[in-house]
Symmetry: C2
Subunit: 321 residues, 2 copies
């Protein structure tokens, strides 16, 4: 069973301490009433750069050798990882080239440019095709390719450190709702949580049109690519990472598949009741509760809210729907 | 010159430590470019209960005697103070009766009810008339009336502790843009900042239709009441507090008056560039920068963002404007 070493999570926490925000956990009275158990939100939407991705980007880039730093790195991102890499690139003085799908969210795209990164917009709509181009470019020029999710270091930092905070701040929780895209967050989180709280429940939440985890569990192997779909939840689009899936496959207790409409409703709900803007990709966990697709929980539950990066026109569309 | 004792701010910080959030300060690249100096946002919109008001409510209520706690308190609020009092009432087990103007923001109203407080909606649209009713009710029933702003304890906790955090987290700042309603925040903040950084610049930001500070400075005395006006910035509506004005009058360097349209634009700007929902009352400081009404600053500047409580229909209206 693939594992995320606890020492790696500890090391990531040490590196990140004081460099990123310790995001709060807050109860949702409405969701608690609905679920019949206390429900808490881990507000990673309040993180620096607007998402959890800064955890992995900072940790991995801080471990590069002086020579690797000098050459710079190449990466591919639907937005949040790119914004995080752009931020860390400026902080640590490491040149970064970020490839983004043509369909990238405008606020994320501008966020990367604002931070001074070199951003290359691809001719492809999907994440997977764009990543192939970025990997080839890294190889051609002898630079490190920084994966957005498929790496134990990324799992430890993105999901592991997040889980460690949740377990500390909300020790009564025994069920965790996690968004699953490439599974960097979900894999690292599940590994840490199941080790710390054996018997806790892990529910992966995905877009119904891009259900890579559900398909992978059915087939017994990671579905690494999926055809692009039109969604505002760009972080949930495409295949699952091999590493994340190998970690998740023996730790996942349920998968909830949410439609675009259900995701929109969850974004509106959080705006209305908690007054936070959250992005569609991160609203799947709330939608899983609102629709009942998370299943019967029966224990105190934490829904991870992974980010807040939404372009204003997209928000207007969500509110008008 | 009326002063806010530094010892009172220290005491408030001690009481609040670990009970409220230490909200972050973040740079705004767009506002920095526009102003030609580094501009930072103090993100008190991320505070528990959605605004700075929890600072004063917690501090004042924690100082009540056992007998006063038993009898409970009465207060009046346009929303944020009420939400804060409702939260603290539950935390400390002190019965609270909260009078709100008929025009109260729906999200704030529901927030108070959700927290289990007794909420009385008045027949008056304005804050000042509603407050008169609440004070009479407190007197009639022998309970403490908790002012939302007109009190040195409230100034020390609401504005003083906020300023102390800003000075620690952003030591280079020498200009501060503050929203001014009753002047609990602005008075306490200005007193602390001018003592810590003599020569720093304080700009008060108000609604153009409810310019109590500007009028008070002209007349040389506090304008305690103003006729109600139709605005989504309920926290800025009505007169100024006597205590806050006496503290502010010798410390204020400029007043910026913003229109409803300019405030709406600032709410959209923060949603677009920072992905935070902020309430109209708190958007005046950003609007003062966006419009140039803050004047030439020439030094690193902090704009205080005081809260995030906006009802969803109001947000839809702001986005459609």
């Amino acid at each position: 069973m693939t594992d995320v070493p606890a020492t790696l999570v500890l090391e990531a926490r040490r590196v990140l301490d004081g460099r990123i925000r310790r995001t709060p956990t807050e109860e949702s009275p409405d969701l608690s009433r609905l679920a019949g158990v206390p429900v808490f939100l881990k507000l990673e939407n309040l993180q620096l750069t607007g998402s959890f991705k800064i955890r992995g980007a900072f940790f991995v880039m801080s471990r590069l050798s002086p020579e690797e730093r000098r050459r710079g790195i190449v990466t591919c991102s639907a937005g949040n990882h790119g914004k995080a890499v752009a931020f860390v690139s400026r902080e640590l003085g490491i040149p970064a080239e970020i490839h983004v799908p043509r369909s990238v969210d405008e606020s994320k795209y501008r966020g990367m440019l604002d931070l001074g990164a070199r951003v290359v917009r691809s001719d492809c709509d999907g994440f997977d095709d764009t990543e192939r181009i970025a990997r080839a470019e890294a190889e051609r020029t002898g630079r490190n390719f920084l994966t957005a999710f498929d790496d134990l270091l990324v799992l430890a930092a993105n999901g592991g450190t997040l889980a460690a905070e949740v377990v500390e701040d909300c020790p009564e929780a025994r069920a965790f709702l996690l968004p699953v895209g490439g599974a960097g967050l979900a894999g690292g989180f599940a590994a840490y949580a199941k080790a710390a709280l054996p018997g806790c429940r892990i529910v992966g939440c995905q877009h119904a049109l891009s259900p890579a985890l559900a398909l992978s569990l059915e087939r017994g192997e990671a579905v690494l690519t999926l055809p692009p779909v039109a969604t505002t939840a760009g972080g949930l689009e495409g295949g699952i990472g091999r590493t994340g899936f190998e970690v998740l496959r023996h730790r996942i207790d349920g998968v909830a598949l949410l439609t675009e409409e259900e995701i929109f409703e969850a974004v509106r709900f959080i705006l209305d009741r908690h007054q936070y803007l959250i992005e569609p990709s991160s609203a799947v966990t709330v939608a899983a509760l609102r629709t009942g697709k998370a299943g019967r929980l029966g224990v105190p539950t934490v829904a991870v809210i992974s980010g807040r990066n939404v372009a204003l026109p997209t928000l207007c569309r969500i509110l008008a729907a």
